[in-house]
């Protein structure tokens, strides 16, 4: 039975895990490798590490962190944050990452998705999309939600799949940080439009929110969350039990 995935996301700055609310007001929460090990023991299905370092030094620290994670952790993990070229992706994949996520750079240069596909294959490419509603319609933003583009979410997702994306990670910037639940309708619509896995992100506040977003068919294949896991308000074993009780296939 194909399982729905639970994915804790760790934002990394200068080698440490941080969590921002609406990407602002960043506070440090712990050693990434320790956290990763704990999540993997609790049966997290996958991990995402996003580098939000602003400096070159921070980026180098991140690449060596990826090596450490790959040595210590026995579940797949995706890395991203500031990946803007085939070379950037190559460094992270060589360091042991299973997938690379690209965001702003793909919006600026969609051909990058193609180039990455040619070099590594679709299964290594997660296209992350941050979008915010403008007049009721999701518009793609870049640079951590700070810059609006004139690109519509659904059109961009379809385009990304055509260019070679292996998965879509969509964060609703309207929901992110609110803890009021995911925008389930948006994931259903995405699932109807593309034929690659979709990861839901932004808005998880409780077990029920995650159960809800994973109970739609078509809908999200995986649910990503950060703070609820980091601060312990949702424990993964209980979450998995709740999903199983609702007959949602999970690895338990």
């Amino acid at each position: 039975m194909y399982a729905k995935r639970i994915i804790p996301c760790l934002d990394i700055r200068d080698g440490k895990t941080v969590k921002g609310i609406n990407f602002k007001g960043i506070t440090s929460v712990g050693d990434p490798v320790e956290m990763a090990r704990r999540y993997s023991e609790q049966m997290a299905d996958e991990l995402v590490f996003l580098d939000i370092s602003a400096t070159l030094e921070g980026r180098k620290t991140f690449a060596s962190l990826v090596e450490r994670i790959s040595r210590e952790i026995n579940i797949p993990f995706t890395v991203g944050g500031g990946v803007s070229s085939v070379e950037d992706a190559d460094i992270l994949l060589q360091a042991g990452a299973d997938k690379v996520s690209i965001n702003s750079a793909a919006v600026k240069n969609p051909q990058l998705i193609c180039e990455l596909k040619e070099k590594f294959g679709s299964q290594f490419i997660v296209v992350a999309i941050d979008a915010k509603k403008v007049n009721g319609e999701y518009v793609v933003t870049t640079h951590g939600g700070n810059r609006f583009t004139d690109i519509k979410l659904y059109e961009w997702a379809v385009e990304a799949e055509k260019l070679g994306a292996g998965e879509i990670l969509f964060t609703s910037m309207d929901c992110d940080g609110t803890k009021k639940g995911y925008d389930c309708q948006a994931y259903t619509k995405l699932a109807q439009l593309v034929n690659i896995p979709i990861i839901a992100s932004g808005g998880a506040g409780s077990i029920d929110d995650i159960v809800e977003v994973l109970s739609h068919d078509p809908g999200a294949d995986a649910a990503l969350a950060a703070s609820i896991f980091h601060y312990g308000s949702v424990a993964i074993p209980e979450l998995k039990k709740a999903l199983k009780n609702k007959n949602i296939p999970v690895r338990i």
Binding site: A3, R5, S70, R71, N74, G121, Q123, N195, D221
Partner: protein, 199 residues
């Protein structure tokens, strides 16, 4: 010592790291003499079957792999190229397993839309108690692939993704896993440990 067959397909790091965690010595090599002296052989692989077979031939190891008498495990694409043929790039493969590799159908047997590649965790129903010692039936393993093995007499594990396919193959000392044991948590670790115990 465990030999990881190096045919320049790039990233072998996750397989190396799994052996590092298991605390076993290993060599990454395409040197036949070294490989023959290894207690166990791993054939990893990532990418396109045609390209991978090209590298195997260039490195002069195409005919050697079938002659190994120690336990050999192909992982993911490594398993696929141990079969006779792959639809991916219309590739003639090593033929250790007689079965063929087909593209995963984009419609299930019930006519539902199936996402390809198959990325994520899926369960394995096995009939090989040696390789799966201590692992429950229908345990989850991590898959990433667009092509899959037909079911035949060498199928040692079955997975359903829209349709049924062979997720584990076994023919004597030759084993193939479509999933990635090195990325499959404690179940994957156990499976690798069972493999490394084989004689």
């Amino acid at each position: 010592m465990v030999g990881i067959i190096d045919y320049k397909t790039g990233n072998l790091r996750s397989v190396e790291n799994a052996l590092y965690r298991a605390g076993v010595e290993y060599a990454v090599t395409a040197e036949p003499a070294i490989l023959h002296s290894c207690s166990h052989i791993l054939l990893p692989g990532v990418g396109d079957a045609g390209w991978a077979m090209g590298r195997i031939c260039e490195n002069g190891i195409a005919d050697i792999i079938a002659t190994f008498t120690q336990p050999v495990m192909g992982i993911c694409l490594g398993m696929q190229i141990m079969c006779s043929y792959s639809e991916e790039s219309d590739t003639r493969c090593l033929g250790i397993f007689p079965g063929k590799i087909r593209r995963i159908p984009e419609k299930s047997t019930e006519g539902e839309k199936i996402k390809v590649p198959h990325i994520g965790w899926n369960s394995v129903r096995y009939n090989d108690n040696e390789l799966f010692d201590g692992i429950r039936q229908d345990e989850y393993f991590y898959f990433v692939h667009s092509y899959c093995a037909e079911i035949d007499e060498y199928t040692a594990g079955v997975t359903v993704y829209g349709t049924e396919f062979g997720s584990v193959l076994r023919r004597g000392n030759f084993i193939g896993c479509q999933f990635h044991p090195e990325k499959s948590g404690t179940a994957g670790e156990r499976l690798l440990k069972n493999f490394l115990k084989m004689k």
